[in-house]
């Protein structure tokens, strides 16, 4: 193995790459593509996405039925879920020297909780156990694009996803659009503070992907590969 290099950002042997952005911004598609590319190049890659665990979805269902959830309990519940995912799935591979790819990280909580009226400093201090990533890609899209992609996917928009608890509008679609507008405002506020690498994600998928490869390559300098997969031809490894 090549001499160990530690991340200048968090000091662990691995590297942490985070994909953030609104629903429908294309970040999940790209996070998967990037993972495939890195695996093909022989790196040890760990991919993880922040979809609510059973614990959270079950509790949210129960809380919603009884009308018990408030912005504070909602925020704490998601922090619990993230902590579980962090302690179980993100930190161990990061320490062990993997390239950890996160489809959503603590920033998702920052914007969502701020949009619900929680004290932003309180939320950030709660998540301070999560180290800053080596690179955070923020997939910037207009809210209209996010909404169009979401509707085209024909997934049902859930009550909390649409921010219905905030009383922004009576119908789900309008509420969703207003809530996403708030989220986008919070994301844009974080760009400088959290050193986001902004990706113009309204462009075609392949163009966006080429940008990502260009951004990620310098991070891999001196980062050890495992055995190169024999079938990884140069086309894939680009």
């Amino acid at each position: 193995m090549a001499p160990e290099s530690r991340s200048p950002v968090h000091g662990e042997r691995g590297r942490l790459l985070v994909f953030e952005g609104l629903d429908g911004s294309g970040k999940s598609t790209q996070a998967r593509l990037v993972s495939k590319w890195l695996v093909a190049r022989g790196y040890r890659v760990f991919f993880t996405e922040w979809n609510s665990s059973e614990l959270v979805s079950e509790t949210i269902r129960r809380g919603k039925k009884k009308g018990l959830l408030t912005p504070t309990t909602f925020s704490l519940l998601h922090a619990t879920d993230f902590a579980d995912r962090f302690e179980r799935h993100i930190f161990p591979p990061l320490r062990a020297g993997y390239l950890v790819i996160c489809d959503r990280y603590s920033y998702t909580a920052f914007v969502r909780d701020a949009a619900r009226g929680c004290d932003p400093d309180w939320v950030r201090s709660m998540y301070s156990f999560a180290p800053p990533p080596d690179k955070t890609f923020y997939f910037r899209v207009p809210v209209a694009v996010s909404l169009k992609r979401k509707l085209a996917s024909r997934q049902k928009i859930s009550y909390y996803e649409a921010g219905m608890d905030l009383g922004l509008a009576d119908d789900v679609e309008t509420s969703y659009e207003r809530f996403q507008t708030r989220l986008k405002r919070e994301y844009e506020r974080s760009v400088g503070r959290d050193r986001f690498t902004v990706i113009d994600a309204a462009r075609p998928v392949e163009e966006v992907h080429a940008d990502l490869r260009r951004e990620i390559r310098p991070l891999l300098d001196g980062f050890p590969t495992e055995t190169r997969l024999t079938h990884a031809d140069e086309g894939v490894a680009g």
């Binding site: 129960r62 018990l68 408030t70 912005p71 504070t72 309990t73 619990t80 302690e87 201090s125």
Partner: protein, 258 residues
């Protein structure tokens, strides 16, 4: 009548999405480890306050309808990490705060809390969280009017636990911390660490320390003196007959069951 605005009464963080009712009731917290006589004290105090016309609502830890069951389940498996467990407890606490403690205070009741954020903070800190993190995490809690800390030596706690249950509890001995494979040894190490955290919090949060190495009657006399100050003379110190507390407790249980 004294009132406090809700948003001005926390340890620094707002609680969004709640009605803006002022809090007119008093919040009295009784802290102390298992075996410190906490539960006995809470029930004596409740009787004393209610006899004098102050309605009491009790709260405790791990009693929320939202996640209490899931915490119990998770603990059985011993699979949660320290940060996750600390946050899980915070969900449970926040749920009780918002759905039980705050409404009761807004209605003018006295809330008697059988443990509060301080136990949760101490537990999180001895499991590796920083003090600053734990303090910030619980900054949404309503500041109590009084915090009574029943402080007892681990030696006394050990004897009370053995006397009551015949054994030492896994969690109360901090076995998950792997301080020692020997449960007795682990118990002492763990209780010492918790105690150190309470010592640091005492000036920080203005705890009233009560020596709980004594009998319940002696402890209760001290607690009454502290609580009396908090009600500023509105409490009549009517002597409660020795037998009254037990009688009242039985009735209270029946009322709660019905």
């Amino acid at each position: 009548m004294r009132t406090r605005a809700l948003q001005a009464s926390t340890y620094g963080t707002r609680l969004p999405g709640l009605p803006r009712e002022p809090l007119t009731g008093r919040l009295i917290v009784v802290e102390g480890p298992d075996g410190s006589g906490r539960t006995t004290e809470v029930s004596l105090l409740r009787d004393w306050l209610e006899i004098q016309g102050h309605p009491v609502v009790e709260s405790g830890l791990r009693r929320s309808t939202l996640v209490a069951e899931q915490i119990d389940r998770a603990k059985q498996g011993h699979t949660l990490g320290g940060t996750t467990l600390a946050l899980f407890y915070a969900v449970d606490f926040a749920d009780q705060l918002e759905n039980k403690i705050i409404p009761a205070l807004a209605a003018g009741s006295t809330v008697l809390a059988d443990r509060y954020i301080y136990t949760l903070m101490a537990r999180a800190i001895v499991r590796g969280a920083s003090r600053a993190w734990a303090q910030r995490l619980y900054a949404f809690a309503v500041r109590p009017d009084l915090v009574i800390h029943l402080d007892a030596k681990p030696d006394i706690l050990l004897h009370r636990s053995i006397g009551k249950y015949g054994s030492l509890d896994y969690w109360e001995s901090g076995m998950d911390l792997c301080l020692s494979r020997d449960r007795f040894e682990s118990f002492f190490l763990y209780q010492d660490r918790l105690r150190a955290e309470f010592e640091w919090m005492t000036p920080e949060y203005g705890f009233h320390r009560v020596d709980a190495n004594r009998t319940p009657t002696q402890v209760h006399a001290d607690v009454r003196a502290i609580v009396r100050d908090c009600y500023r003379g509105t409490l009549v110190d009517a002597p409660v007959p020795e037998a009254a507390p037990a009688l009242l407790r039985a009735r209270a249980r029946k009322a709660a069951a019905g």
